[in-house]
Symmetry: C2
């Protein structure tokens, strides 16, 4: 399965309609090049570093008008889409969420960021409950994490234990944290025997400089692809046979010692 | 604190006395260059790929004659030493172990490999019980893992939760697993906010080709040092102030959500 990552700064004025235009343009290009899935960054719809008030204003329910337009884009271009947005929960709280739509525009997964990053996230969002839901897409079992979540091996393990083959990670990662693309994403793919698609922002928002470096962690080691620091549509080809071979060579999931972890980690 | 990693193929005939001679030579060189700790590879004393019978013959108790000579080396050269050896347990079983001696020759830690690697390890060794003991050395809180253990984020987390600043990892890592030095060790250091000293074998033993690439994972990202593929004494300078700064910048340990992990991972 070919996938595409939309590395972008997004609309300078953070207008959802303008960002959906960008999403549509990227979906058309990605589909034309054979991609079956497009992953956009964290808080793609509204911008990320926008403050609590703006996040509250921009927040939509999981089936809000922007989700409806994204579903229409998916349907018209025949490509599954995952993108980040501020979600107004049924409880009234605002979550840092990502939605996955299939190429018929049907909602497959909605994930709420579980590990909030610093004052930035905490000022805007309530933390997600730590779901580890998995959906089927083109024969792959797919889960979602958002940005900082993937830096916690525990979060990827939970998806791997549920059988995930591919973890989608909309992100908004800024300097100086290039270690995430260079080391952490490849390590997650290797140690949990799955693909990790990490789609970052680029450009700047206020004091934040996003470094790009969108990448796809390879269960065979390293990154399948690593982007530069600018606007880019990044392609990678996932291969079920290479995934199968990685799982023969890398036996981490089989060799875990959960009875030890329960004792050492279970209550902390 | 300056540390040294002894990357070596060891004695071609796997004679413990000859390997202890190598250890002494390395201890002298490391101490002369200011190192306070020398880490040698997994099964350094006897060779690693030697089969169950030879491992049983070579196995010594934790306070056996080789440990006594290593303690003497530590004392005479004024350098702490960690090295791998086949241990005869009090239960009669043979473990893949590593011993840490301080520079007075006193035993600080003995660790038994917990995650056995494939048929190779399982033919020779009983699995360790998954201890996460920590000792104080030069103001650092130090733990031990062996080779494959460090590929499990859970094992490093257990030490980090116990307050470790530095994890010593005698290893015998072979092609094609260079992803461990290149990605996994740096990721462990970053995500668990500690130094990881990974001391590998080089050369060949039977069908195994060790790739060297001994390294020291840096909590600030990447490796402090990464060796080549041949015989080498590798130095790295650990810095408590840089470790402190890494822990201010990287907030993973504070931001974990253990109540979620207990539910998702605790019973698996």
């Amino acid at each position: 399965m070919r996938i595409a990552l939309l590395q972008t700064a997004g609309d300078p004025q953070n207008r959802p309609a303008a960002n959906l235009d960008r999403l549509e343009e990227a979906a058309a290009r990605a589909a034309a090049d054979g991609a079956r899935l497009l992953v956009a960054p964290e808080m793609f719809l509204s911008g990320y570093n926008i403050g609590a008030q703006a996040a509250g204003v921009a927040a939509e329910t999981v089936d809000g008008p922007s989700a409806a337009r994204a579903a229409d884009i998916a349907r018209r271009h025949g490509i599954a889409i995952c993108y980040g947005y501020p979600e107004r929960g049924e409880d009234g709280a605002v979550y840092n969420s990502a939605l996955l739509l299939d190429r018929d525009g049907k909602s497959l997964l909605n994930f709420r960021k579980t590990h909030l990053f610093g004052d930035l996230d905490r000022a805007m969002f309530a933390p997600g409950p730590g779901t580890a839901e998995i959906a089927a897409l083109d024969g792959y079992r797919v889960g979602i994490l958002i940005c900082y979540d993937v830096e916690f091996p525990e979060a990827v393990r939970a998806l791997a234990l549920g059988g995930a083959d591919l973890v989608l990670v909309p992100t908004a990662n800024m300097t100086p944290y290039d270690a995430v693309s260079l080391f952490v994403v490849p390590a997650r793919a290797f140690e949990s025997e799955l693909y990790v698609a990490y789609a970052n922002r680029c450009g700047s928002e206020g004091e934040l400089d996003y470094m790009g470096l969108s990448c796809v962690g390879n269960p065979n080691g390293g990154n399948l692809v690593l982007a530069g620091d600018g606007e880019e549509l990044v392609f990678a080809d996932l291969d079920p046979e290479r995934l199968r071979q990685a799982r023969l060579l890398n036996t981490h999931m089989r060799d875990r010692r959960p009875e030890i972890y329960a004792r050492q980690l279970g209550d902390r």
